[in-house]
């Protein structure tokens, strides 16, 4: 399991200059600095967009049925009608790879979104409110961090059955504490600044202060961290479906395909290599894109 987020590091390291930047300024900086400045980042952007497109429209373009079993099992590369061959149940490997992108992408994006909303929300509130509210919320975050994430997912799956919903909740909740810690640190700093104090003294209501004043000012580093979280979520999700906790066969899914293909590591290694490589490339691309966005949005954080 790689829980690469929530280092607390970023909170301590983000320079004071950034916080005062208004929403307009970071948008401007994005335009000014641009994204995709290095070639790995460019390639990653292209790959990521391509994968998302393939997951969205690919299944409509491919005529082969990813689920239909045939007697033509384990056909090699370049077989007529099956450019990537067939799997152990005679299903078209290309179709399975194209369809199999969906569950992973869905879990990665949805769980990141969940983690982002929960983590930012909790952190924001804790950092702003301080005192007892902060104590309670941050102890809850500690608890969530200490709860072994694999146990969380296994419990969820055991209770609600395997499937994408369990994975989204499990991964999302595991990743939220990291984001919450960052959001708390950032929000606490903003809360002490003059413009927030002024807004509060001027009678602006709490939700308004949070959403309109603080949120825009912590958005830069938060977004950068959230994109990094995406890659972690993708890796985590693939690992869990590899364990059979994700979407159920026969529906194709990269993680599970790696697991099922492992039986043929010696006789038909492509059944492992193809889905594993695609998963790897997807996670790598998420990382490079995350780096790139961080460079653009949070220059000090990436040094």
């Amino acid at each position: 399991m790689s829980d690469h987020t929530g280092t607390g590091l970023d909170a301590g390291r983000t320079g004071p200059g950034l916080g005062r930047a208004s929403s307009g300024r970071w948008a401007a900086r994005l335009r000014q600095r641009g994204i995709g400045t290095s070639w790995p980042a460019m390639v990653s952007w292209v790959f990521l967009v391509a994968i998302v497109l393939i997951a969205l429209v690919g299944p409509l373009l491919i005529s082969a049925d990813p689920v239909r079993q045939t007697n033509a099992a384990l056909l090699p590369f370049g077989s007529p009608g099956h450019p990537l061959g067939t799997d152990d149940l005679g299903r078209d490997e290309l179709a399975r790879l194209v369809h199999g992108a969906r569950p992973l992408l869905f879990v990665a994006f949805a769980s990141t979104a969940l983690a982002a909303v929960v983590g930012t929300g909790v952190g924001l509130l804790a950092g702003y409110a301080g005192g007892a509210v902060e104590q309670v919320l941050m102890r809850a975050v500690d608890l969530a961090l200490a709860f072994p994430s694999i146990l969380l997912v296994i419990l969820l799956v055991a209770a609600a059955g395997p499937g994408t919903t369990s994975l989204v909740i499990g991964v999302g909740v595991s990743l939220a504490p990291g984001l919450a810690r960052l959001a708390r640190a950032l929000a606490a700093r903003e809360t002490a600044r003059d413009y927030v104090v002024a807004a509060r003294l001027g009678g602006t209501r709490t939700p308004r202060v949070l959403v309109q004043e603080i949120l825009p000012n912590i958005a830069g580093p938060m977004v950068a961290q959230i994109v990094m979280t995406l890659s972690v979520a993708a890796g985590f999700a693939a690992g869990l479906s590899y364990l059979g906790l994700g979407i159920q066969p026969p529906t194709p899914d990269w993680g599970y395909m790696v697991q099922a293909g492992q039986e043929f590591l010696y006789s038909a290694p492509r059944l492992v290599v193809l889905p594993a490589t695609l998963t790897l490339l997807f996670v790598v691309a998420c990382n490079f894109v995350g780096d790139d966005l961080r460079d653009a949005l949070d220059p000090k954080g990436s040094a």
């Binding site: 296994i154 998963t279 990436s302």
Partner: protein, 361 residues
């Protein structure tokens, strides 16, 4: 929602009181540990009992040719013996009472004491995690520093790219591939367990290194290391890539700081600057990351333990959930959480010690 009370405005740096604040905060966090553990124990207790399926069903099913009625009787008898026929609240009360008295109960499947099971499983996991961490830190720090010092050159780009790829590796498939390559094709390394079965190892502490010393059996060490290499490296790779990135960022950050510039201006040699100032000050984020990564490693070891048949607490936990062995799950979850919390507490303390601002004060 009403307006929240205004926070006390954070005071400007006053070293002395900041230090006292920090100590007080550390103490409060220490007090918080039991609270977190208690909440966790409660959560796990409830979660396990909410799960469909019961331990008694699995227990009662072992016989052959039993009629359904006999199985039902068996099940009822098992439930009674294990105290599962009691109301949930009573069970919870008993559990808490036992917990307070540090009684962790017995496995439903054969009455092994949970402490005994943890004593068997934890050392393996700790060995594996520490070995992985060592490898990861060594790899990560060296490559990270090099990348930072050669910032902008192809060395930097290549290191970053390799690091990114390595921490994106599908760790779940890595072990399997390592086994095929190094265990089966090249036959360099063993692929199974902590020691060869031909070695007669009777654990005292279950930490092989310690036992080798206690039992005066140095011949245990060689095979033990051989068995550790593949699983530990597999586990370490993704972490190493991450550490590389953190180290690089952190070193670059420090390199830009005033005191480094001052040191350079004072005419200190580059290597002395790196050693005395940069590395020492870059430890901060690295240590923090290590603490959090420790938790991830514990989680990641579940797969590694399964693939390498390496008896550890991760597998104990998973097996416990699958068998609905409540006491085992409760005990293992608590042990993992305690390890994690303690390591992170230690990290916080280290942080305090290493933080130059606090030390200066």
């Amino acid at each position: 929602m009403s307006t929240l009370p205004l926070p006390r405005l954070r005071r400007p740096h006053r070293p002395r009181s900041e230090r006292a604040d920090t100590l007080w905060a550390m103490f409060r966090r220490l007090l918080g540990i039991p609270v977190v553990l208690f909440a966790l124990a409660t959560l796990v207790f409830i979660a396990m009992r909410l799960l469909p399926g019961s331990p008694t069903a699995s227990l009662a099913g072992g016989g052959t040719n039993l009629t359904a009625a006999e199985i039902a009787r068996n099940q009822a008898r098992a439930g009674e013996a294990l105290g599962l026929d009691q109301p949930l609240l009573t069970q919870y009360g008993t559990y808490l009472d036992n917990l307070v008295h540090l009684r962790f109960g017995e496995s439903f499947f054969g009455s092994n004491s949970v402490l005994g099971l943890l004593g068997d499983a934890l050392p393996g996991t700790i060995e594996l995690t520490l070995a992985a961490m060592t490898i990861a830190v060594l790899l990560g720090v060296v490559t990270g520093v090099i990348a930072a010092l050669r910032k902008g050159t192809w060395i930097d780009t290549a290191t970053r790219a390799v690091a990114t790829v390595s921490f994106s590796l599908p760790w779940f498939a890595l072990g399997v591939i390592a086994i095929v390559v190094f265990g089966v094709w090249l036959r360099w390394l063993p692929v199974l367990g902590r020691l060869p079965s031909s070695l007669d190892y009777r654990p005292t502490t279950n930490f092989v290194v310690i036992d080798a010393m206690l039992q005066n059996r140095p011949e245990l060490i060689g095979p033990w290391i051989q068995h550790l290499i593949l699983p530990a490296t597999t586990l370490a790779l993704s972490m190493a890539g991450y550490i590389t990135r953190i180290v690089r960022a952190s070193v670059l950050d420090v390199l830009g700081d005033d005191f480094v510039r001052t040191a350079r201006m004072k005419g200190l040699g580059e290597s002395a600057v790196i050693r005395r100032h940069v590395l020492r000050n870059s430890w901060l984020p690295i240590v923090t990351v290590l603490g959090l990564q420790f938790g991830s490693l514990l989680g990641g070891s579940v797969i590694t333990e399964t693939v390498f048949s390496y008896g550890g607490v991760g597998r104990l936990l998973v097996q416990g959930v699958l068998q609905r062995d409540y006491p085992v799950v409760q005990g293992a979850a608590l042990a993992i959480a305690l390890l994690f919390v303690l390591v992170n507490y230690a990290v916080d303390v280290l942080y305090m010690i290493l933080d130059p601002r606090i030390r200066k004060g």
